[in-house]
């Protein structure tokens, strides 16, 4: 069975402005998919719509089946059991995605306690293990507040939190955009390894072609909320069919050439 099945998904503001239009894709258990697009192309809104977390003033149409449950129009109590257990999200900016007043250890402990029913020493051990998995030291980082650790460490902690509930699908929404390049590579490798090791499905969202190509084979290119192109990343990079994709590839190449890297 497909883990995530999105059919004709539309997201619009209450005023009627469409943000995502007629988006369809399927994601099987253990599969990976990249969503590429520039800022404002509807990538992040799509990730929120998938977990039923669109903010006030936004509404979804169409169908999102997450583990067989219809998310669009569903009541909160139908969605809560899906979140964490079926799908978890890693956000772009870990500083704002972590509670500034809660120690990292407690934030990591929460989904573990809730989804795996652990308490006391078993919970402590699981938190240390979850932090070790993302190469963080429990004694040091577990006791720290988010502002006391580095951006890379924060994103590692956010990944530990997202994975603590043992989800089948990880949605990574620009997970490395807020990090500097060397840290980016480490985080991408970490995500790649963990997703592989757990056999999780991955929905990877980014504006960065290079980053997406490191993570997924299959991609969808979004422009102004419309899927303009889909296929393997190699095909999209080498022979883009849509002018927008061509432009995206061209400007990415141009930037690379200008920087003299790669």
């Amino acid at each position: 069975m497909t883990l995530l099945s999105v059919t004709n998904l539309g997201v619009h503001t209450d005023a009627g402005n469409p943000l995502v239009h007629d988006l369809s894709f399927d994601l099987a258990a253990g599969a990976r998919l990249g969503l590429i697009g520039e800022s404002g192309s509807g990538k992040s809104v799509t990730s929120l719509a998938v977990t039923g977390l669109l903010g006030a003033g936004l509404a979804a149409t169409g169908s999102v089946l997450l583990d067989g449950v219809q998310v669009v129009g569903a009541a909160e109590r139908r969605l809560v059991p899906l979140r964490g257990r079926v799908a978890s999200v890693v956000f772009q900016e870990p500083l704002t995605a972590l509670d500034p007043l809660m120690r990292i250890g407690r934030q990591v402990a929460e989904p573990i306690a809730r989804h795996r029913g652990l308490r006391g020493t078993a919970l402590r051990a699981a938190v240390a293990e979850a932090l070790a998995e993302v190469s963080l030291d429990e004694a040091r980082i577990g006791q720290a507040f988010p502002h006391e650790i580095s951006g890379g460490q924060r994103q590692r902690a956010a990944i530990a939190i997202a994975l603590g509930s043992r989800p089948q699908l990880l949605i990574a929404d620009e997970p490395t955009t807020a990090l500097d390049v060397t840290v980016q590579a480490q985080i991408l490798r970490l995500l790649d390894d963990l997703v592989d090791a757990r056999g999780m499905a991955l929905l990877f969202i980014s504006h960065d072609l290079a980053v997406v190509s490191a993570m997924t084979r299959e991609v969808i290119v979004l422009s102004s909320g419309v899927a303009v192109e889909r296929g393997t990343i190699d095909r999209v990079l080498s022979a883009p069919e849509h002018p927008y994709t061509a432009q995206l590839v061209h400007s990415a190449r141009g930037l690379d050439d200008m920087l003299g890297t790669r």
Partner: protein, 285 residues
């Protein structure tokens, strides 16, 4: 905490500032608290003992002199400390519980209910605290209880409005969305994320409100609407000393100074609390 990545000098500086105001506040309020506790077990004279000479000057037998009925002023002040603290704590408790509940309700409510609550709060806040308290005291009769309820109700509107705004701000934060994506239910989000994040600001406000409550009680008593006579509130002492303020100034100065000590002390604590309650500020200093 030894491994945190913040410059040690900043932390030391912040700690020194913090401990200064917090310490001064705790000393002032602690002194009033000690006197209030002492008054429960020991008083220099019986509260209604009028055996002293009328308007006696400060001296050996009556340290701060006596009032126009010949009662010992120190005794009256000690009882007043008790009343001031009871009024402050009682009304802050009422104001906080009621205000936080209303504020959270408004923040989570659908827009029409939110608008209705906000409009109602604006109306209550537009009433001067004293006027509102006077209305309630007039309706219920003057007693220590109705003074506390009156001040607490007036305070709850301010606390509710603050809670509502703070909650809405936290609700817009990404870590709330992040907590929801991991499956946290709304009650869990309120308890674990919203309350801790609004508490630093709210606790400072509540501490300030404590001072406002003490002053409001003194004002009500001064106007004759406070706790009835056997209760020697500082406000009532001020009012009774008003007629003799030229001939026996200590009778007015002493309760005034006591009032100032308590309110300044509470404000100092509020200042110190702000830094203690918010770990993020320690690093950002």
């Amino acid at each position: 905490m030894s491994a945190v990545l913040i410059a040690p000098a900043d932390v030391a500086g912040a700690r020194r500032n913090r401990s200064w105001t917090l310490l001064a506040g705790l000393v002032l309020v602690g002194a009033v608290l000690l006197v209030a506790l002492l008054s429960l077990v020991w008083l220099p004279y019986a509260p209604a003992d009028t055996t002293g000479t009328r308007l006696e000057a400060p001296g050996g037998t009556h340290w701060l002199g006596t009032d126009k009925l010949g009662r010992d002023l120190v005794t009256q002040l000690m009882i007043g400390a008790r009343i001031a603290l009871v009024v402050g704590l009682g009304s802050v408790a009422i104001g906080a519980i009621l205000g936080i509940t209303i504020g959270l309700t408004a923040a989570f409510a659908v827009s029409w209910l939110d608008d209705t609550i906000s409009a109602a709060l604006d109306v209550v806040i537009a009433f001067p605290v004293l006027l509102l308290a006077m209305l309630i005291v007039a309706a219920q009769g003057a007693s220590l209880g109705s003074v506390i309820v009156a001040i607490g109700l007036a305070m709850s509107a301010v606390v509710a409005r603050l809670t509502r705004v703070l909650t809405k701000r936290v609700l817009g934060e990404q870590f709330v969305t992040a907590a929801r994506t991991s499956g946290t239910r709304w009650p869990g989000i309120v308890v674990r994320h919203i309350l801790p994040n609004i508490w630093p600001t709210l606790s400072v406000n509540l501490a300030l409100q404590f001072g406002v409550a003490v002053l409001a009680e003194a004002s009500l008593s001064y106007l004759g609407l406070g706790a009835p006579p056997p209760n020697a509130s500082w406000g009532r002492l001020l009012q009774e000393a008003q007629g003799t303020v030229i001939t026996a100034p200590v009778g007015a100065i002493a309760p005034g100074v006591a009032l100032i000590m308590l309110v300044i002390g509470v404000n100092f604590i509020a200042d110190g609390l702000r830094d203690v309650a918010d770990p993020a500020r320690k690093g950002s200093r």
